[in-house]
């Protein structure tokens, strides 16, 4: 990759990372959220960038512990916008972003607790009138208010995008893993709390939330009128006959047929 973060000029680049409190999938303990930590890592890997971390939410002792996880990555302070529990954090975040006016806002793709709908970055972008891109894998360069980034696609592929700043970008688990959180810096770092009026999320209060039920496994139903067909479908090993068989052809003809299929499927580049 021609990526060289050191040489590209990020001079004066102001990056805000929105961080949330995660939840360990097995122990259910509060921790730094994985995708958010990757977003912080990505921000830290940009040289010359001033990185601000913003968290909006309640601050129980659990939450504080989790937020200190981000401080342990070598960050001086996290801006903590205090919200009552069950509040809609989007208005508070919009205010905070208007105040700090960053060029780039990084977030995780979806939260590990609560609704986890992954809508926050889109809502923020719409409210601020900024473009939003998802699945950021790497920031290649930032020049004259335009960022060239790589977007992660399924199957390990990447797409290069150019986006006009300021912009919101989400990071998912295809981004580089976050560095470990060190204990000392985590203790020393500061949680700069700030109060802000909270807007209750009324719709969410009506929902009924329960632990996830196991989803039923889909049955293979064979719809056929005759018993013979149903038996054949149930007992079939490998169903032959559907494919095309080329025997007694020269290697060139065979290669031509394979080539046609590969081209038809669009896997040749």
């Amino acid at each position: 990759m021609p990526h060289n973060a050191k040489s590209s000029s990020h001079a004066g680049l102001n990056v805000a990372v929105l961080v949330s409190v995660g939840r360990h999938p097995l122990t259910a303990r509060a921790r730094r959220a994985d995708q958010d930590a990757r977003a912080v890592e990505m921000a830290l890997s940009m040289s010359d960038a001033a990185v601000h971390l913003i968290h909006a939410g309640g601050n129980g002792s659990d939450n504080e512990e989790a937020l200190r996880g981000y401080l342990g990555m070598g960050i001086g302070e996290v801006n903590l916008i205090k919200q009552s529990s069950g509040a809609d954090v989007v208005p508070a975040l919009i205010n905070a972003l208007r105040d700090t006016a960053p060029q780039l806002v990084l977030t995780g793709t979806r939260a590990e607790t609560g609704e986890g709908s992954g809508l926050v970055p889109y809502l923020l972008a719409e409210a601020l009138g900024w473009p939003v891109i998802n699945g950021l894998a790497q920031v290649e360069s930032i020049e004259q208010g335009v960022a060239t980034v790589l977007q992660a696609l399924p199957r390990g592929k990447r797409r290069r995008l150019r986006v006009r700043l300021p912009a919101v970008a989400t990071v998912d688990s295809s981004a580089p893993a976050a560095r470990q959180s060190a204990f000392g810096p985590a203790r020393r770092g500061e949680l700069a709390a700030r109060a802000c009026a909270s807007v209750p999320d009324e719709l969410q209060a009506q929902w009924q939330v329960q632990p996830a039920r196991k989803r039923p496994k889909r049955l293979k139903i064979i719809k056929s009128a005759s018993a013979r067909d149903r038996f054949k479908a149930a007992a079939a090993k490998a169903d032959s006959g559907s494919g095309q068989l080329l025997s007694d052809v020269s290697p060139e003809q065979g290669a031509e047929a394979i080539f046609a299929l590969l081209k038809e499927e669009g896997v040749l580049r």
């Binding site: 939840r23 999938p25 979806r110 939260a111 590990e112 609704e115 986890g116 992954g118 809508l119 889109y122 972008a125 719409e126 473009p131 998802n134 060239t148 977007q151 399924p154 199957r155 592929k157 990447r158 797409r159 290069r160 995008l161 150019r162 986006v163 006009r164 719709l203 009506q206 929902w207 939330v209 329960q210 632990p211 996830a212 039920r213 719809k223 490998a238 169903d239 032959s240 559907s242 494919g243 095309q244 068989l245 080329l246 025997s247 007694d248 052809v249 290697p251 060139e252 065979g254 290669a255 031509e256 047929a257 394979i258 080539f259 299929l261 499927e265 669009g266 896997v267 040749l268 580049r269």
Partner: protein
């Protein structure tokens, strides 16, 4: 055509009993076709036509019934009823409302996720038989799908144009907004897939000012809700279920409903009255970046060239993989013999792959190997043995020596690359 065969057990019994006085008459009557297998020649000798004996059985093999009475038809296939299309045709002339679905069409075809979603849309549309709704599918750009009718689409809106070929979410959202203005669907359904549907759906919901339900996996009728439906959605990274009223915009997971299988629909094309707006996008697509296929993990790879015991020329194989731009895989034998690293093994004890195209070179198709390629779309077999299990699984099997065919394929591809290069130079 009447397929029912009337049998007369008494006549069959007579036909089997060569000593029965009516044996010959019954035989003539039952075999009574145009082909006579036995007759008395002019000199009084009994003549037999061996080719007229017997019939073609259901497996295409000639059977001879020693009793002489042929129970099955002489002509192959006349008794094998062609599978008839028994699906009900459904046409909805004046729908009470529309349910819009935006399928992702990976590779230009409906994925199983898209089909599930269309099944969900049918549930919403067909709930009230008195006032049926219509399912509107909105398709961007060129595609290869031909069976929208079988998947349950009543109305098909194809938005063509260069603008939809690349990654331009802003243009697509503007187009969907025009659909909203003109057709005002009651529901919007999108697949909640990592890219494509999930992203587009969130953008759309935010633009329409609707709060969507994400990761929905079940819907049920609920009179207490204002939309008449209730949905169950996954929340908190899949660890909780949220039960809520069904909103207008729904992002649903795979297997959220059964795909349509019993009906065929009109898939009637519709068009927008107004031209699509021009959007000045702030996101510019610079195209896909070439990634080294060798660095892609096997389970993620989209195009795999896999080698088995039939590969003799390993340098040729690696070269072919490089020219094709394919990720390399291997059968267990190739790995055990030390030709390929262990992390390249495909199958039950190796990696379960999900490639779109899987080319098996000299692999016999043992069940342990076939298990690993269950979810591959297209399988190509190159093998010497046309009866092997891999050839049965494959969509295309080429019988011949692996080395020669791979070499021919490499030449063909190199020629294609040169042509492309020339075209590019000319342009």
């Amino acid at each position: 055509m009447n397929d029912i065969v009337r049998r007369d057990p008494r006549k069959e019994w007579i036909a089997r009993n060569r000593l029965h006085p009516e044996h010959l008459e019954v035989l003539a009557e039952m075999g009574g076709g145009d082909l006579h297998s036995e007759w008395i020649g002019p000199s009084g000798l009994t003549r037999r036509n061996p080719h007229a004996v017997g019939f073609i059985g259901p497996n295409g093999i000639k059977r001879i019934d020693r009793s002489g009475a042929q129970q099955a038809a002489t002509q192959p296939g006349s008794r094998q009823a062609q599978p008839k299309d028994t699906r009900r045709r459904v046409e909805i002339e004046t729908p009470a409302f529309l349910v819009a679905v935006v399928p992702v069409l990976p590779g230009g075809r409906l994925s199983s996720h898209d089909r599930d979603l269309l099944g969900l849309a049918r549930q919403l549309a067909d709930a009230d038989p008195e006032r049926p709704g219509a399912v509107l599918a909105i398709v961007f750009g060129a595609h290869k799908e031909t069976v929208f009718d079988e998947a349950g689409v009543d109305r098909l809106l194809e938005l063509q144009g260069d603008a939809f070929s690349g990654y331009l979410p802003e243009t697509r959202i503007a187009a969907l907004q025009s659909v909203e203005r003109e057709l005002a669907p009651r529901h919007w359904l999108l697949p909640d897939s990592p890219l494509g549907g999930g992203e587009l759906g969130r953008r759309l919901a935010v633009r329409l000012g609707e709060r969507p339900a994400t990761q929905v996996w079940q819907i049920e009728a609920d009179a207490a809700s204002e939309t008449g439906w209730r949905c169950t959605a996954r929340g908190a990274a899949g660890t909780s279920d949220i039960i809520r009223h069904l909103p207008r915009v729904v992002l649903a997971l795979a297997e959220c409903a059964e795909p349509v299988s019993e009906t065929r629909h009109a898939a009637q094309p519709v068009e927008l009255a107004q031209a699509l707006p021009d959007v000045l996008g702030r996101i510019e697509d610079m195209g896909e970046v070439a990634v080294d296929p060798a660095s892609v993990s096997l389970s993620e790879a989209e195009f795999i060239l896999s080698a088995g015991n039939g590969v003799k020329d390993w340098d040729g194989f690696h070269h072919a993989a490089q020219v094709l731009g394919a990720t390399e895989g291997a059968s267990r034998v190739a790995v055990d013999d030390g030709f390929m690293p262990r992390d390249r093994q495909v199958g039950a004890t190796g990696t379960w792959v999900s490639a779109r195209v899987y080319v098996a070179v000299g692999i016999s198709g043992a069940i342990q190997h076939l298990q690993g390629i269950q979810s591959c779309d297209k399988v190509v077999a190159i093998n010497l043995d046309e009866g092997c299990d891999m050839a049965k699984r494959a969509d295309l099997s080429v019988i011949g020596d692996a080395g020669e065919i791979l070499a021919a394929l490499v030449t063909r591809i190199e020629r294609y690359r040169e042509q492309q290069q020339e075209n590019r130079d000319a342009a």
